[in-house]
């Protein structure tokens, strides 16, 4: 962790031109977002501003639409047969569902980390981190090496793997693999990082490492963290949104939401009355 904090080459994510990248302008402005799978509505009109350079937690019971919500933010639903998305989502002002927009470019701005770590099994640690840049056409070796170290440092993995960058990524432990996936997502310098229950398959020590990493990264990136683990949201998120059955029930600072929720349903969920 300390390595990344002291690294001078640490990246500042590119931001959309014009807008002030600091705290004021929201990363995502979401208006009336609906998602259907076939005839089944999963999200019923979510409106929410996700602040930049903060960690936004999404909590709620299984099936409340957390993952569906995240996947709408980088247009991953386009590969799900029968999925339909309606509503408007702006990323730093740009409408991401605009017909002229290329989802490929969007996904380079919006990175994603999944529930189960998934380093590419045929690639080494180094290849895993650099695949996004390489296939986007970056050939410059110096730049690639620089980005490799930068991404691994930011993911707090550099010191553990710097002597075996050519080892297969799948040789790492579960927590290291997940950090490798974070490094892989960071290497293309996204502006936002979506994390879909990144710790749910990890042991407590690896979880603590990733959570501390998320808090660090939250200073530089806008992070959206979906989790069904309330403590995790409490420990890492600056702001928290509570979803229930495809609706946004409450959104506010984590402290306020956990200690003094304004909605009865939120309170019931937090006190374990359901979910």
């Amino acid at each position: 962790m300390s390595a990344s904090a002291s690294d001078p080459k640490r990246a500042v994510p590119a931001s959309s031109e014009g807008a002030d990248p600091q705290k004021q302008s929201p990363a995502f402005q979401i208006e009336d977002l609906h998602v259907w799978f076939g005839s089944r509505a999963v999200l019923h009109g979510i409106s929410l501003n996700i602040p930049s350079h903060q960690v936004t937690g999404i909590i709620g019971p299984s099936g409340c639409g957390k993952s569906t919500f995240l996947r709408a933010l980088n247009r991953m639903h386009e590969f799900t047969p029968g999925a339909r998305v309606q509503g408007r989502i702006r990323l730093f002002g740009d409408d991401i569902y605009e017909s002229s927009g290329d989802p490929i470019l969007l996904r380079r701005r919006v990175g994603m980390v999944f529930q189960k770590s998934n380093p590419f099994p045929t690639m080494s640690i180094q290849e895993n981190v650099l695949i996004g840049l390489r296939l986007a056409g970056t050939r410059n070796r110096e730049l690639l090496e620089e980005r490799l170290e930068e991404a691994l440092r930011m993911a707090a993995l550099w010191s553990e793997v710097k002597d075996r960058l050519h080892a297969p990524g799948t040789e790492l432990s579960g927590g290291q693999q997940q950090r490798l996936c974070i490094a892989r997502a960071l290497a293309v310098r996204p502006e936002v990082l979506l994390m879909d229950e990144p710790c749910s398959a990890l042991d407590p020590i690896a979880t603590a490492q990733i959570e501390s990493l998320i808090r660090d990264l939250g200073q530089r990136y806008s992070i959206v963290l979906a989790t069904h683990n309330l403590q995790e949201a409490g420990r890492t998120a600056d702001r928290t949104a509570f979803f229930l059955e495809g609706r946004l029930i409450e959104f506010g600072s984590t402290k306020k939401l956990f200690t003094n929720p304004s909605q009865k349903q939120t309170e019931d969920y937090l006190t374990g009355r359901f979910g």
């Binding site: 994603m112 590419f120 296939l135 579960g174």
Partner: protein, 303 residues
């Protein structure tokens, strides 16, 4: 990912550390033990039935053709009728050329087809392609011989190695398509999603991630298909046709081991019969060798 302890299952104790008397007392224990042993014996018998034909064939071929399997047999052309000696060098090389040609033609088509079935197109198209491949897999191989005969041989006005390779490739395509599809389906969708979420194009994900992950499986499928057609005789009868001398190029009739074996086996000459046995031995060795390569590939996968 994380290893979950499963406290619900009692740990299987080895006989030494378990309290033996307690278990032996229960009648269920003995019944289970007998049933267990019975199934063990049954499955061992089944395994023997599976393995023994291979051993029998090997022993039989070795005893009938082993003596004719000389250096001359591997390096010489067939002698004219009536003379003893000579070999099947042209047929061995011809078979290698035909199978390579068929592999070259069928691999891109089969692999791309398999990718198409898994990754592109709507469900109905995919089902249609898969069904077609299954039907094609069931088409008797002589049909391919006739088809290629009427399409290629009649048009070129000559039997040729080209036609033979094409006939074999028609058999290989659906085999390769189906195995490619199967191994691509085994690639967890998590990798596909991770690639897409990184901003890779769909083609890049398929080529660099999915196909890379499944490459050993694809290669195994190609080799198995090649091994399968290496022994095909019927589709070559009126395409490659066979040749008693070297074929100068692909537009000439070409010798192949199965054809040569067929011709020699139905001949009236005892010397040719022996050579047919030797040829069969070489053919089997070739296929066996390919299977060993396949095994090695499949093993390397887990390494």
């Amino acid at each position: 990912m994380s290893p979950q302890p499963n406290p619900s299952h009692p740990k299987p104790h080895s006989q030494k550390e378990a309290s033996n008397e307690e278990r032996a007392d229960s009648r269920h224990f003995w019944i289970r033990k007998v049933v267990d042993r019975f199934f063990q014996i049954l499955s061992i018998l089944a395994a023997i039935v599976v393995i023994s034909p291979l051993l029998l064939v090997f022993v039989f071929l070795l005893s009938s053709g082993g003596s004719s399997l000389t250096w001359d047999f591997l390096t010489q052309l067939p002698k004219p009728v009536g003379e003893t000696g000579g070999g099947m060098a042209n047929a061995i090389v011809g078979s290698c050329i035909l199978v390579s040609l068929a592999t070259l033609v069928s691999t891109p088509v089969g692999v791309l087809g398999g990718i198409c079935v898994c990754e592109y197109g709507d469900a109905r198209l995919r089902a249609a392609i898969r069904f077609t491949a299954d039907v094609l897999n069931g088409v008797p191989s002589i049909i391919w011989g006739i088809v290629v005969y009427s399409w290629v041989v009649l048009r070129m006005k000559t039997f040729s190695g080209l036609a033979g390779g094409l006939a074999l490739s028609f058999i290989m395509i659906p085999l390769i398509l189906r195995t490619t599809e199967d191994v691509i389906r085994l690639v967890p969708s998590a990798y596909r999603e991770a690639g897409l979420a990184l901003g890779l194009r769909r083609g890049q994900v398929i080529l660099h991630i999915i196909l890379a992950t499944a490459r050993r499986g694809v290669l195994t499928g190609v080799l198995l298909a090649a091994a399968r057609v290496a022994g095909e005789t019927a589709p070559l009868l009126f395409t490659a046709f066979g040749n008693r001398v070297w074929a100068a190029h692909l537009q000439e009739p070409m010798a192949a081991l199965p054809l040569q074996i067929f011709t020699y086996a139905i001949s009236p000459y005892p010397d040719w019969h022996r050579q047919a046995w030797a040829g069969a031995l070489v053919l089997l060795a070739l296929v066996f060798f390919m299977s060993i390569v396949v095994r090695a590939l499949a093993k390397g996968k887990s390494q």
